[in-house]
Amino acid sequence: MDNWQRVSKVSILDFFVKNVIAFVSGAVYSIPVIWASSDTLKDNMQYVVMGASAIVALLAISSFLQYYFFKYRLKEDNIEIHAGVIFKKHLDLPFTRIQNVKLITPVYFRPFDYTIMELDTAGSVKNEAKLVAVPVARANEMKQHILEYQAIAQAFDATDPADDTGESVEAGSGEADTKNEKLLNQRSIVDLVIHGLTNNRVFIFLAMLAPMADNIFEYADEFLLSFGLDVKGFLFESQHPWWQLSLYLIASLIVAYIFVMLLSILGSIIAFYGYKLTKRDNNYIQRSGLLSIHEVVMKKPRLQMIVRQQDWLDVIIKRINLKFEQMGGIERHKQNSLRNKLMVPSIKDDECEALVADVWPSNQLTSINYKAISKRFIVRGVGLFITPITLIICVIAALNQQWILIPPAVVFFLVASILIWCRWKRWGYAIDDEFVYVRKGLLGVNYYCFAIEKTQMVKFKQSIFLRRHKLCHVNFVTAASSLTIPCIAQDIGWHLLSVSLHKVESLKKSWM
């Protein structure tokens, strides 16, 4: 086991696909050139074919070289990786530094029963280790090995309360397959459709199409033209009465909305198809995905914050997105954050409660009594932002004698004020012996909750306006994200901060 070994030859396939994707997204910008010179290209078809096959051959050769130079070796307590054709990379990753072991199975690996193993570290994205094309059984075995090692290391770590580590060590002797995992939640297609409707998941779909975006817009234009629908001519040169035009406009907006909804549903299904959340010992495992199956593992001590999210549509149909945030929510994984996070999409209230109770049993996320923030929040919002904007619009309108602008300004003032009131109404905070709770939202409502002892840093903020009224904002920074409670009495603010600092400094618990 200590010797250098290569990954399976199947990895060439993955390297090839990645290379092709990289090439295509790089070559998108040359489409206009190719299109402009299409006549010349057509006349010299044989050269085009030769060139294309040369490119494909080059990509294939480089994929093979990538495979050839990729070696890894697994030791007792670390994994070493040698990679790179021209720029060599040597990575030495101790198991204790691994935050997360992810298994991703792209669609083209599924027939071979291979998977991609991604080892997340706390450091930068550059240091991430990726083993392409590992047999699924072997990947599970390695994952188990790493987790076992971490569990044992943790058991020896005096700083960590030996609360549940014993259990993990014991279970380490079991098989690595999914048999001894307890199913916590799974999502059906109906749930995913609901999720697509209530949450905008268009970007998942768009992200997949990004390399081809230009073409799609071009085709869409041609497609519409082929139906005899000349948008430009219709809008600017016709003599249709205004009501007809606005009807068309409304109709096309509705069509566009439905179209976006469909894409969103598609995106939701692509991301969450076959969603399963399971638990083994202290590890929560999420598997989902239509094309590539993503597996995210979260160890319970790594959990920083629970977020219970409801958009306004979710509030109406009573569905909840429940997020379990691990570290580094802000900077890392910006692009496909959704897939790296542990999130249970569109669950019902009782399911949400069961999951939260399973993770943090003493948690009172929804049952605790939330205290309101100061009403000055409304005064501040209306006085500092809305009134000045309205006044400026009115003055400009008056100076130019455009009286027609006054009613919209008044409507803006009213609507914005009502929204500020809604926002104030949603704000709430609470604290108990273990957790800090925050509720916020506008039309929807989100609940946040984190263990006090996992606070990284606290901030107290006060402007002149707030100081006069003895109010303040407080900000808690955790490893997952930061939470602000605005406009609360400064005594309460200091009390919250002092209590949490005291908890952190006296309990001396590890945050992960």
């Binding site: 840093m457 006060q462 955790t478 600092l501 001396k508």
Partner: protein
């Protein structure tokens, strides 16, 4: 767990609210002065360039363009003055307190802010010295927690010696050595 030596334990909650009233150390006057001079120099150069364009003899501006430059010059001077004064007050307002288990940074003129970083949660510390800092024997300390780069605790304007001492103090702190 052996937690018996912890000294914050016996304080009551009302004692703990002292974060707001505790004494704090201000930044080195040399740092504030140097910062002021640098800012003044920078804005002077900007204003000089604008004035230079307005009054240069090589290709005289038209009357209307010259007028525009007068306004620009006035606006830029006012803005520079405002920034210089506010930055000076901001530097003056910054102070810090080192306690047994955490470090606090006070700052802000209009928006007062107190940032408190427990030693227990520190991941690593950086000591930085720019060219001006080196000349004046100053340094700044950056403290990183797992909260991410957005929430880096930065304390500028220490003497180099103080910065080294502080870094060593934090590194030697039992919370950092055990949990780091």
């Amino acid at each position: 767990m052996e937690q018996s030596t912890f000294s914050n334990e016996q304080l009551s909650l009302s004692d703990l609210t002292s974060y707001q009233t505790q004494e704090s150390t201000h930044l080195e006057p040399a740092y504030i002065k140097a910062n002021n001079i640098l800012r003044l120099a920078f804005f002077s150069i900007v204003l000089l360039i604008i004035a230079g364009v307005k009054w240069q003899p090589f290709s005289p501006l038209s009357d209307s363009a010259s007028n525009v430059f007068t306004y620009v010059l006035i606006a830029a001077s006012l803005l520079s003055l405002f920034i210089v004064v506010m930055s000076y007050l901001y530097d003056k307002s910054k102070s810090y307190t080192l306690r047994e288990n955490d470090i606090s940074l006070y700052s802000g003129v209009i928006f007062k802010k107190v940032t408190i970083q427990p030693f227990l949660r520190i991941q690593h510390i950086e000591l930085k010295q720019g060219p001006v800092d080196r000349k004046l024997d100053l340094a700044s300390i950056q403290v990183f927690s797992a909260g991410g780069a957005l929430h880096t605790f930065e304390l500028p304007g220490l003497t180099h010696h103080d910065a080294l001492t502080m870094r060593q103090f934090i590194l030697d702190h039992k919370d950092v050595t055990v949990h780091g």
